[in-house]
């Protein structure tokens, strides 16, 4: 019965809009099957978590009220009074963190499997910008509950922006909506979080997904040397999609488990006149940068240590984005290629600095 209605509906659309390209894509899209196939699912999980963010974010918007006098109170109302509000808010917070984690895993998996190489340079670049936007989502969203920790973390975070020469100070004032973190900053961050970022993000995500559909999945290097009959593939629809769905379901279950058993504390309301609480830490995904800046000496030659650190991360990020255009000589006698070594060092740096940040 339902199947019948479904077929009729598809026929109705097909008759008017010609679904042949979609049908072709679904029928012919293949995903290479090999021992590193697991990494193909990371992008999908990231996308799923983004969808969760989108849905829970919209639901939170129904009750959230930005403003110095209402933000904290409305979040407290959401987690205490609104039916399933606690679940939605905690899923949103947990999903945000997992989203960043999976985005990083996805990025490094693409890097190590060299999936960014020609012709997928733009997929890499859009992906990198999406990651930066995700971090911006995290940073702006962190302030919205207007609690003590968020307030001071934002103060420290925007202070770091201020050290950049020439544009730093104006940028800091632009971000804060004034000299200090105030209600103006909150309104601004709210606007950025729910309107500006989603608008840019949607365009880039659309492009990112379009590029993938247009070019198909990346095949590993060893596939090129394999005879056609030895190359194994699975169909994207329904085989890969079913596996994707299975993983999404598991991740969803983990999400609600985390939301229930490890809820995010709301803490005390932000108070500009209170002294900063002990142990102000940025979110974990900024920790490696924060810790590096802390470990730098106050002065390196004639420059401020912090300034050099900020510039270094800025340039390093830019170079990382342009990785597809970098020509590093292939060393046939090297077991691990130079770029892979650089990638491992970067990943190790991030992990170690994050660990130091939490342990010291």
């Amino acid at each position: 019965m339902i199947k019948n209605i479904g077929s009729k509906l598809i026929y109705w659309i097909d008759e008017r809009y010609d679904l042949t390209p979609v049908r072709n894509l679904l029928e012919h899209k293949k995903v290479p099957a090999h021992r590193h196939s697991v990494w193909y699912y990371m992008g999908g999980v990231t996308l799923f978590l983004f969808l969760v963010q989108l849905l829970t974010g919209i639901l939170l918007l129904l009750y959230y009220r930005p403003g110095e006098e209402s933000a904290y109170e409305s979040v407290r109302f959401i987690v205490t009074e609104v039916k399933f509000g606690w679940l939605i808010r905690n899923v949103h917070s947990w999903s945000a963190n997992l989203l960043v984690l999976f985005a990083f895993i996805h990025m490094f998996s693409v890097f190590f499997t060299k999936a960014y190489e020609k012709p997928r340079e733009l997929t890499w670049i859009t992906g990198f910008i999406i990651l930066i936007l995700t971090l911006a989502f995290g940073f702006s969203g962190y302030l919205l509950p207007w609690n003590e920790l968020a307030y001071f973390a934002t103060k420290v975070g925007t202070d770091i922006v201020g050290v950049v020469p020439i544009i730093g100070e104006p940028l800091k004032i632009f971000l804060r909506g004034g000299d200090e973190v105030t209600g103006a900053t909150l309104s601004r961050f709210f606007g950025i979080h729910v309107a500006i970022l989603p608008a840019i993000f949607s365009v880039l995500l659309g492009l990112h997904l379009l590029f993938i559909q247009r070019q198909g999945m990346h095949e590993p290097a060893h596939f090129k040397n394999l005879p056609e009959e030895k190359k194994k593939y699975i169909s994207f629809f329904p085989d890969f999609a079913l596996k994707d769905l299975l993983l999404w379901v598991v991740v969803f279950n983990i999400l609600i488990f985390l939301a229930l058993y490890f809820p995010w504390e709301l803490g005390n309301k932000a108070d500009a006149f209170a002294s900063a609480p002990e142990g102000i830490k940025p979110e974990w995904y900024f920790m490696f940068m924060f810790q590096s800046l802390k470990l730098l000496p106050a002065h390196i030659l004639f420059f401020e240590g912090e300034l050099l650190g900020v510039l270094f991360f800025g340039i390093a990020g830019f170079v990382w984005m342009l990785v597809p255009y970098m020509k590093v000589k292939h060393r046939t006698n090297w077991k691990i290629q130079p770029l892979t070594i650089i990638g491992i060092l970067i990943a190790a740096f991030i992990v170690i600095m994050t660990a130091i940040g939490y342990l010291l």
Binding site: R76, V79, T80, E81, P238, D239, L242, K243, L245, L246, V249, V250, F252, N253, I256, F257, L260, P263
Partner: protein
Amino acid sequence: MERGSSRILIWVLTVSFLTGAALYGQTKNKNIQNPQQDRCYTCHKEIDNMPVDFSDNDVHRHANLACSSCHGGDPNSDDQEIAMSPGNGFIGIPKHKDIPKFCGKCHSDIEYMRAFQPSIATDQMTQYYTSAHGKKLIAGDENVAECASCHTAHSIMPVKDPRSTVYKLNIPGTCNKCHGNSDLMKKYNLSNNMLEEYSKSVHGIALLKNKDLGAPACNDCHGNHGAMPPGITSVSHVCGTCHASNMEYFNTTRMARAFEEQDFHGCEQCHGNHAIEKTTDEMIGTGEESLCVNCHSSGDAGYIVANKIKNSITDLKTRFEAATNKYKEVKQKGMNDVEIGFLLQDAKQDLIQSRTMIHTFDSLKVEERTRNGIQILSKASVLADKEIDEYYTRRTGFAAATAAILIFAVALYFKIKDREKKKSTR
């Protein structure tokens, strides 16, 4: 010419002398510019003959007052004969009986005192002469306390200075210097264990152990310069200074009038004085520790009221404890405890107020207050139960969701395996 010059000289000298004399008159016995140039101080220091209790931190020294400001004499002369001559106003060590007036010379002079502190009181001496100490001093008693007995003679510091003998935390010790002396106290038929009793009392523990400066020291009940033991009529006023509601309730009762008729000491009659203990609910009712049974016996109206009051308060207290336990459970489970916390605060207020209302000796009034508290507590209890239920509902819901997800995931898994199997056989 010569004659004219000497006339001018005489004229200048006369004017200088008169101006000097006028200025001297103004500064006589008062402050000097530099205490280090005070000859009394420098000579006595040199010959190591300073007062035993002398301190450079003395408040008068900080106000640039010289030894001569109190003791008289000429602080500018190196010659002992001149410096300490009665002709120069030298008084020396004042007699015990003269000390209040000796200090009062300045401290009762508002014109002079307000130069140092505009809002300073200048009635200490007048108050002192109305005190038990002052009256006895006038009567010729050489043992009673005068100004220096409490303030010291040469280490006087402001009341707010923790080094001062009259700083709040130091007052019980200062009074006890005399009032702890058994030989001295015997003469006045007074006990000498006041400090010992006070230290164990609720007030003493708050002040001396917990350093709570809001707690009363000796002078808060007895007065300081006008120190007196509170009389029968004034005792409830003394306690009522802090325990205002208790006093208000008590004074309007029949019990207050009965106390007066019987010469009972208001609050002190039940609570004691220096050894006053932290009150407990056991002090009311008709149990073993009850104070009511000291006067009331089984069957009389007071005995029945005492029981009723006790029951009302015990009921509220028991319910409050039960609700608090539930509140703790809600908190521990990480559920919403904000509203319950507010309700418990209100209920606690009712418990405190109903305990205060014991002093109305009216069981209906106490019951009205406890009933209010009980109503609030039942609201808190309902809310707490709701939150605890919600806690378990969430877990049950999660278990059900997980089961459904698991079934779906397993079905998906078999579907995938099935497709793989079909493909390999194809």
